[in-house]
Symmetry: C2
Subunit: 203 residues, 2 copies
């Protein structure tokens, strides 16, 4: 088994944190996105969608998509549980994972990909107006999340789950667009400090 | 239990098809998106993200996000299985569900929301250039999917799963952007004809 990875990209980081929380070690193979290695013929044979992370099982089967890889490991090693235990908790974790991904992670990525000249080869065509349109979405979601975190410790409930992994990676990813969590969002900051202390965050 | 729904919108349709496949009946409450009822104070109290579908359980707990609602019903009634049985199948279904959603469903939605003047109150601000940029993404993904469907009956493997639900709803949703699946994509057409025959498609 091996995991195609990139040290600084946010999606591979989500998988590395997930694996660290599970205590699972998988050999990493680094893909140089700056050199567009993920668009090479060789890597395209591994993942036709030309993206990392991609997990290759011992029989050669490839699983791509961050959340698909995480769910694979949740199924083969259920503990510690990160996707929810009861039907209701599973639904709530999925709901929050998706809210954070669709309304924070993807908007941060859109700002970066459509406004940074260094991303011109990665995002074709860049639409700067779309990058600009996503800036207020990022801040609006953080305001909403702050209200939610006033009432509970973690994004999807009383305990740490994969929704927190997507959220902390998204918030840290905001460095790439030179945006900081506003100071008045004290519940987001409290949550961020607690989550950032977890050993898995260094993965 | 009740499900906030809208007859013509694609996300509520995904949930209705899923429930029909499971043989589960849930009372529907229609939300008039044309009148922006989903942005009303009353509906915002139900789902602060102002979107349908939203499932309200008997104790008042709300689950929003299409896939979270589907996963809730998969957990409470596992058969017929729609999210995968083994760890590998679960990962493959999730991978394909996400590929279709991110690379077909969302691009179709972007074309509609950013280019149709009737969507101006729904999508603020509209960025027509972004709508245009998504048109080739839709066709490129259908080409890719056609190659995949040359080798297997359904989107994620040999049997019908939730990945097919997202895919058929996405393909049918292309009517809203006046785009048809190109005739030469014969495997997509064969798959579409087979899936469209399922009784759940009328839900």
């Amino acid at each position: 088994m091996k995991l195609y990875d990139q040290a600084r990209a946010p999606n591979p980081r989500r998988v590395r944190i997930f694996l660290a929380e599970k205590g699972i070690s998988v050999p990493l193979v680094s893909v140089d996105l700056g050199k567009l290695e993920h668009k090479s013929a060789e890597f395209t044979r591994i993942n036709p969608r030309q993206a990392v992370p991609a997990l290759v099982l011992d029989d050669g089967t490839v699983i791509s998509e961050t959340m698909a890889i995480c769910r694979y490991f949740e199924a083969v090693q259920p503990e510690p549980n990160l996707f929810g235990a009861t039907p209701l908790e599973q639904a709530q974790v999925e709901m929050w994972q998706r809210r954070v991904e669709l309304e924070l992670f993807l908007p941060v990525a859109a700002v970066l990909r459509h406004l940074n000249p260094a991303m011109a080869a990665m995002e074709v065509p860049q639409v700067p107006q779309w990058g600009e349109a996503n800036k207020p979405k990022v801040l609006a979601f953080l305001e909403f999340l702050n209200g939610e975190l006033a009432d509970r410790a973690y994004v999807a409930g009383a305990r740490f789950t994969v929704a927190d992994i997507t959220a902390i990676v998204s918030v840290d990813f905001m460095r790439a667009i030179r945006t900081e969590v506003p100071e008045h969002l004290t519940h987001v900051w409290r949550w961020r400090h607690v989550v950032s202390e977890r050993p898995s965050m260094k993965a």
